[in-house]
Amino acid sequence: AAEPWPENAVLYQQLKEEQILLSDNASSLAVQAFLQMCNLPIRVVCRANAEYMSPSGKVPFIHVGNQVVSELGPIVQFVKAKGHSLSDGLDEVQKAEMKAYMELVNNMLLTAELYLQWCDDVTVEEITHPRYGSPYPWPLNHILSYQKQWEVRRKMKAIGWAGKTLEQVLEDVDQCCQALSQRLGTQLYFFNKQPTELDALVFGHLFTILTTQLTTDELSEKVKNYSNLTAFCRRIEQQYFEGHDRDSSATVAARSAKRSLLR
């Protein structure tokens, strides 16, 4: 933890063009946005088995020096231990609020994305199944896909989302976006003038929802209803992903996130 951030830090995720799914792309973009906001260089590498390489089974994960850390929460703490933090300027109550809103995004948006990908039959058949196992030969691609679906459905059942219909899930997404929109108001970022990890997380999810084409547009329509959220996404994209070097990996990631998930 005492070493400075090396130049060759790497972020691993699944294959951008063919394999990665909505929820994983959102998480990965959130981490990339966070690292950009901290001004820490990172290179994105795509591997088909990224999920299995990760210590916790979730993507994305970063390989820094000789340590491997996955998921936004632990990565934020790891980066803080190295001396970079975006939320130091917040007081205790604001920190509590920030954590609460991050949980809201995880609880509602991420779960809704997972539900849409794995529990909505149309989406599963047309998008998820073909994409998830695409780097693998038959029959492995089917087996992996069904296994993951079974796992996600078990989790949905345990938290009580299995009984929800798609309309109810979309309503929850709407409620979550409304809460985020009201919290953001007319400010530039969620906490005044400086972006924090909450901004990175919200950006990751909303940008991915807005730019991914699914079987229907209902999910992105819910987000588009809130103009301050779309303006927020555009602002962060311009500031952190296009303002830098044209060849930087982050720009390429954002651009291909835009294109590759369009069918």
Binding site: P55, E97, A100, E103, N107, M108, A179, Q182, R183
Partner: protein, 291 residues
């Protein structure tokens, strides 16, 4: 007038109206918003809990999850949140998500998974309130569901270590309690002087941890180090839940209070009026009037 509403939920002990966090949340919200709810605690009769508890029954409508029940109450104009701004409403959602993600796993663990607690307190208590053949099966099922939920939402891929998961969820829960305490600060409720939905949820989650006597109590000990949260629970218990009065005269005086409210929205009950009513209980001459 709205159809009479009945709430079916788990009963209480150790000074609490209910041991079950979700039932407690709904009961607290009903008290805050002034909704007239008849509470039926589940006992040994054959109307055993078949689905989720708590369940609200009003005329022909049956509603089961706390969020949906609260929505229904709001539609019936029992709204504890109407004085909140939009941002405060957004904060409510965020904090409820925080409670569910960070505090609920540890709460479930303390009640249902921790072996000593489960064997000596939870299982006998719940089994004594469920009719015979089900009492052998249902507590075990609830325990398995709780463990399942914790592992699926918090455990990593196998091989994972259960003790590590447990350590992590208790760390998260303690952090959550600290955050709540900082957010509450010195005020009486989370948003000013009147209790709202968020207060109902926080009370529902905290009160069981605070009051139930378990052999293994690390979460309770941590909670007791946060005095503002303890006062929060105690205040709500004394002001909103001790009013289980059999005194008909006192009930009449409370009903007169209700009918004087002209607005269609029933405003949330303010603490002061209840204190006066409760204070009058001991010393007033009403006590000597027999029905």
């Amino acid at each position: 007038m709205a159809a009479p509403m009945e709430l079916s939920c788990w009963g209480g002990d150790w000074g609490l109206p209910s041991l079950h966090p979700e039932s407690l949340t709904v009961m607290a919200y009903a008290k805050f918003s002034g909704a007239p709810l008849t509470v039926n605690t589940i006992n040994k009769s054959w109307r055993a809990p078949k689905g989720d508890v708590p369940v609200l029954i009003s005329a022909d409508i049956v509603i089961s999850q706390p969020a949906k029940i609260l929505n229904f109450l709001r539609k019936q104009k029992y709204n504890a949140d109407y004085e909140l701004s939009a941002k405060q409403g957004a904060d409510t959602l965020a904090y409820i998500a925080l409670l569910e993600e960070k505090l609920l796993p540890a709460l479930l663990h303390t009640f249902w998974v921790e072996a000593e607690n489960y064997r000596s307190v939870t299982k006998p208590w719940f089994a004594s309130r469920i009719p015979f053949p089900l009492s052998l099966y249902l507590p075990g099922k609830m325990s398995r569901e709780a463990l399942n939920r914790i592992l699926l939402t918090r455990g990593g891929p196998p091989p994972y270590s259960l003790t590590e998961v447990e350590a992590q969820i208790y760390r998260d829960a303690k952090e959550c309690l600290n955050l709540l305490s900082k957010r509450l600060g010195t005020s009486q409720f989370f948003f000013g002087d009147t209790p709202t939905t968020l207060d109902a949820f926080v009370f529902g989650f905290l009160a069981p941890i605070y009051k139930v006597c378990f052999p293994r109590v690390q979460l309770q000990e941590h909670l007791k180090q946060l005095p503002n949260l303890c006062h929060f629970c105690d205040d709500i218990l004394t002001c909103y839940f001790r009013l289980t009065v059999a005194d008909s005269a006192l009930i009449i005086s409370l009903q007169m209070d209700d009918s004087l409210r002209k607005s269609p929205q029933h405003p949330p009950r303010k603490l002061t009026t209840l204190k006066l009513a409760a204070g009058g209980e001991e010393s007033s001459p009403w006590n000597r009037l027999s029905p």
